[in-house]
Symmetry: C2
Amino acid sequence: MDSNIFSKHLNMENVKINDSFWNEITETVRKKVIPYQYLALQDKIDNAEKSYCIQNFIKAGKICKDIKSGKNTKTYPVDKWQYNENNSDKDSFQGWVFQDSDVYKWIEAVGYSLQNHYDEDLKRKAEEYIDIICNAQLDNGYLDTLYIINDRSKIFSNLKDHHELYCFGHLTEGAISYYKATGNRKLLDAACKFADLICDTFGEDRIKGYPGHETAEMALVKLYSETGKEKYLNTAKFFINERGKKPYYFDTEQNKESVGENYHYNQAHIQPKYQSEAVGHAVRGVYLYSAMTDIAKNCNDDELFSACKKIWDNISNKKMYITGGIGATVDGEAFSFDYDLPNDLAYAETCASIGLIFFARRMSECEINAHYADVIERVLYNTVLSGMAEDGKSFFYVNPLEVLPIASKMDSRKKHIKPVRQKWFSCACCPPNLARLISSINEYICTDNNNTIFINQYIGCKINSNNANIIIHSSYVKNGQISFDVKAKKPFKLALRIPYWCDEYHISKKYKLENGYAFIELNGNCTVNAEFITKIKMIKCSNKVRANVGKVAITRGPFVYCYEETDNGKNLHLLKLSENPNFVYKDGQIFADGLREKEDNQLYSEYNRPEFEECTLKFIPYYHWGNRGENEMAVYIRI
Amino acid sequence: MDSNIFSKHLNMENVKINDSFWNEITETVRKKVIPYQYLALQDKIDNAEKSYCIQNFIKAGKICKDIKSGKNTKTYPVDKWQYNENNSDKDSFQGWVFQDSDVYKWIEAVGYSLQNHYDEDLKRKAEEYIDIICNAQLDNGYLDTLYIINDRSKIFSNLKDHHELYCFGHLTEGAISYYKATGNRKLLDAACKFADLICDTFGEDRIKGYPGHETAEMALVKLYSETGKEKYLNTAKFFINERGKKPYYFDTEQNKESVGENYHYNQAHIQPKYQSEAVGHAVRGVYLYSAMTDIAKNCNDDELFSACKKIWDNISNKKMYITGGIGATVDGEAFSFDYDLPNDLAYAETCASIGLIFFARRMSECEINAHYADVIERVLYNTVLSGMAEDGKSFFYVNPLEVLPIASKMDSRKKHIKPVRQKWFSCACCPPNLARLISSINEYICTDNNNTIFINQYIGCKINSNNANIIIHSSYVKNGQISFDVKAKKPFKLALRIPYWCDEYHISKKYKLENGYAFIELNGNCTVNAEFITKIKMIKCSNKVRANVGKVAITRGPFVYCYEETDNGKNLHLLKLSENPNFVYKDGQIFADGLREKEDNQLYSEYNRPEFEECTLKFIPYYHWGNRGENEMAVYIRI
C-alpha cells in the first residue's frame, strides 16, 4: 500500500451541507425519523412491532442498583435469539439479542444531526437515554442488557450467536458521534470502560475469541483514532487475525468439535487475509470488510488489503444489484453465488447497502479510484433512499427489484418481500442505520490528503480542508451541473469524480484524467464549473444474471428507475419497452413508448406471435416506489 | 349427476397390454424397480437413504408376540414426524410416521404386476412381507407400527399429523390388488379387520375425526366395491362430510382452540362440498378430490360433484404445469396461488401427479369428457415417466421445469430441486407410487358402460368388455397411428378420444364428435383405423404465468420436450428459438434452428442489441432428462 496517496474523509464539522435535494432528506431525518425512533425505542408507536430496547436498559439499571445494594437477583435463560412474551418471563430481557444496538445507532444519528443543526430538545432526549444506558453498566465496564438482566455468569460465553461485541461496537460509534457533537463525555467514557474490559478479556494470552457479528473491529479503530490508545487498534487487529483460525473458536467456546458447520455465514471459515469472495450474512460481511480495510490502512498491511480488493471486485462485479443492493438471498440474509441476483426473491437488506458504503469509503481512502465513490452513489440514491418512506415514518428492511403483492402474501418463499414500508420491525436494525447514515452524509462528500481534495459526491456544501475552502453549488441530480467556488490555502489539486453513468461532460478548467477523476491544479481564488450531461439510459445487466436476460433497466444520472402498477396498470410483466423508445423526462419522471401484451386465458395453446397494444410507460425513481399504497413494482422491463 | 352415462374402467384382467412403447417400461418396473424396492424396504441398497420399513414391522411383530405371552413392553415417544438414530431409541420405531405405507404400495404394485405376468419368485417375496405385516397386527385389527412399537395408549390421538388412517388406506389398496392377483386373502382379511376397527371407532356417535392425510377414503370405497359391505362406504362418506366442520376436529383432538391455524394444508379449512379451489399439500389434495368423486358417484351427490368439477377446473386451468406437474411450491409441498407456476422453484411432486391421474380417471367415469383423459396423458408421458431413471434404479421426487445444478447446491431456496435422480428417499412415497401406477396402467386405457367403450389411452392391448373384444395395435407415440380389431358382442359405440394436441386426424369409419370423443357405431367384426397427425408444436403458456412470458415449449404428440446442457452447452438461458424454426424429428429427438446470445461480462452496461450466433438446438422428451449425469435442463425457451 502507498501511504502517500492515502486520503481521509473530512469530518462533519468541516463539511456543511446546503443542497436543494439533500436538505429535504436530512431535515426529514432530523424532524421526523429521529423523533419517531425516539418513541419507537420506548414502544410508543401504535400498532408497530415492539422494540423493548429502552425497557431492557431500565431493567438492567435496576439490577445494577440491586447488585450495589447487595440484593439477590434472579437469573433467566440466555439461549435464544429472540425473547418475547411467549417464550420468556416478563421481568427478563425482551426482544432480540442485539436489541441494545438500536438506541446506540439512534444516538449516533442524533450526534451527527446535532452537528448539522443544534437542537436543545433533541440533546435533552439523547441525554435522557444516555443516563438510562450508563445506569445499566456494570462496575467492570460490561454493558449488554441481555446478560446483565438474564445471567451474568454466562457473559462472553456465546460470541458466535450473541451480540455483546456487536452492541459494544454500536455503543462506541454512538458515543464518539455524540461526544463530537456536544463535548459530553459521559457515553464515551462508558464506551472506553467497556472497551478496556474487552481489551483485557480478548487477546493472544487471553480468550482467543472474536465477534460473531462484526462491528466491534470498526468501532475499536475509530476509538483508537479518537483516543490514540494503541490497545484499541491492537484488539481490532487481533479480532481480524484470529477469525477463521482452526480449531474454530466458535466450536471451542461450545466445547464441541467442528462437525463441518458452516462458518461462511459469519465469514469465519478462513482467516480474512485469505478471503477473496463475499460470502455469508451480508451485513456481517461488509462490516468485516470495512474493518479489514481500516486495519490494512492503519497497519499498512498489503496482504490484508489485497484480500479487501478481491472481495470488493467480487461484490461490485458479480454480487451487486443495479440499485446497489447486496445479499441476494433471504436464507442467512446472505450473499448468494456469483451472478445470482433474482429480482423477485431479492433480500438486499438496507443495512447491507449501508455497510457497503462504509466499505467503499474506506477503500476510496486507500487508493485513488473513482469506482469506490461510484458505488457509494449507486447505493445512496437507490437502495438507501428507498429504505425510508417520504414521510420518514416507515421503512424497508428488504429492497426487492420486483414485487407482486399477492406473491408476498401467498408464497412463503417471498414472505420477506414487503410491498409497502413497515412502521417498525422487531428486528429494527435498518431504520436507525438509515438515520445515522443520512445524518452523516457530509462525511461521504469528499476526502483529502496534503495536496488533493477528492470530490466524491456532488452535494451542495461548504468544505473546509487544509488545502482550500470550497463552496459547492450543485444541481447534480437535476441536470448534472455543479460549480465550485474555491479559496485555495496553498497550491492543490481538485479531483472531480467523473460519474460512472456519464459519457459526456464539460469542466471549465484544464484537467488531467486519472483513475476516474479529473485532476485540476488550482491556486488562489477561482470558480470551477462542471457539467455531467445527464441522459436517460437503457442499462443492460450481464446475461450471466439469468433474471434479466432480454430486459433493460432505465436510469437517469444516479437514479435507477422503476415502474409501478399505480401508473401502468396491473400485470407489469406484460409490458415491454420499444427498442428505440422516445423518452420524455418531466418532473423527475420518465415516459416512454411501450407495448402491452394482450392477456391470454388459455393455460396452454399453440404459439402465435403475441398481440400487443401501444401504451405510454411511466417510470419513477426506484427510491420513490411503494409510497402510494400496495402495488406491483419492477425495475427491469422486457425490450 | 346422470348415472346413465357413468362408465367404469376395465380391470386388470380384462386389459392385457402389448405395446412397443409400454412393454419396455412395464418390464423395467417388473424386473428392476420392484426387485430394487424389495431390497430398499429392507435397507439393503448401498449408499441409499434408509427405509426402516420392514424393520419396523419385525419390531411390531415381536411386540405382538410379547403382548400375547404377557410380557411387559417398553414405550417411546410418538411426538415426531421422523424418527432417526439421532432422535430416538434404536429399539423404537424408525423412519417417518408414514413409513408402513411404502411396503403396502410395493405389494399393490406386485399384485398388478403378477396379474400382467405371473412370477413365482416375486409371489414368494410378497408373501414373505405379508407374513411379516400380519404378524404385526394387534388382535383388535389395529395395524400401524409407529404406535404398536412406541405407545399403544396414544393410538388415534393425533389424526392431524400422524398417518394411521393413511397407512390403512395403502394397506387396503395393496391387499385388494394382491388378492385379485393371487386369490390369497391373508392381507385382505387383515385390511378388513383394520377397516372394521376404523368403522367402529369413527362416525356420528363415535369419534368425529378424519384423516390428516387423505387416502383411507378412497380405499374404503374400493373395499366396499370389493366386499359389498356398506359400512365401508358410509365411513368414507363420514370422513368426507365431517372434514372441515367447526369446531375443527384437529383442534379438538389436541384440546386446543383454533388459533387461526392453517387447515388449508390438509384441505380441512371448510367442508369438501363447499371447496372450489385446489389448496394445501398437493398429494393430500388430489387424494381427497379422488375420494370426493368416488363418493359423489356412489351416492349420486350433485353438490359434492359440483365441488369436484370446480376444483378440477381450478387445477387444470390455473395450477398445472405443461408436464402435468402440480403443487408448485416446496412450502407444504403445496398448490400455490393461481398461475403461480415457476419453472426453477417448482415442486411438482411425482406422487401429486399420480394422484391427479386418480382424480382424472374418476372424473372421466362420471362424465363424458375427453379432457380428463387428456390430462392423464399429459401427466403420464411427462411427469410420471420422468419420475424414474431409464434403469429403474433412481427416482425424482420433485419434477422441476428448469434446473441449474449450482443453484441446487448453493441456493437453499432450491435445495429440493435435484439435478439427478436419487437412489432412494428417507421419505420414499414416490418410487413405490410409480411402481403401482405403471404396473396398473392397464386400468387407464379404457372405460365402458352398457353401450359404449371409451378408449382413453392409445396403448396396444387386448380388451375384453361386455360390449366387445378389441385388439389395439398402436404406434401412437411414434406416428399417431392405431388400429382396432373389433369383435362386437352386441351393437355398441366405440368412443375414441381425440387427443388435445391433435388438430388433424383420420378415422376409417363414420363418427360423430361429442365432448372430445369420436363415437363410432359398431356391430359384428371389423377393423377401425385411426391416425392422429403428429406434428412438432410450439406451445405458449398463458401470459398470466409470469415465468413463461416471451417463451415457448416444444411438444410432439403427448410428449413435452426439454433441452439439456449435454446437448446444447452451458447457460441454457442464453439460447433462443428462431420464430419460424425448421424442425427436424429424428429418433425421438427434435432439432431446431436457434440462436445463442453471446456472453457479456460487464455487470451493468449501456444497452446494445445483444449479439447472437446461430446454432442448432437439440430437444429430448422431458421424461428422459437427467439420465446423462448432472447438467442444466429447461423446458421453456425464449422465442
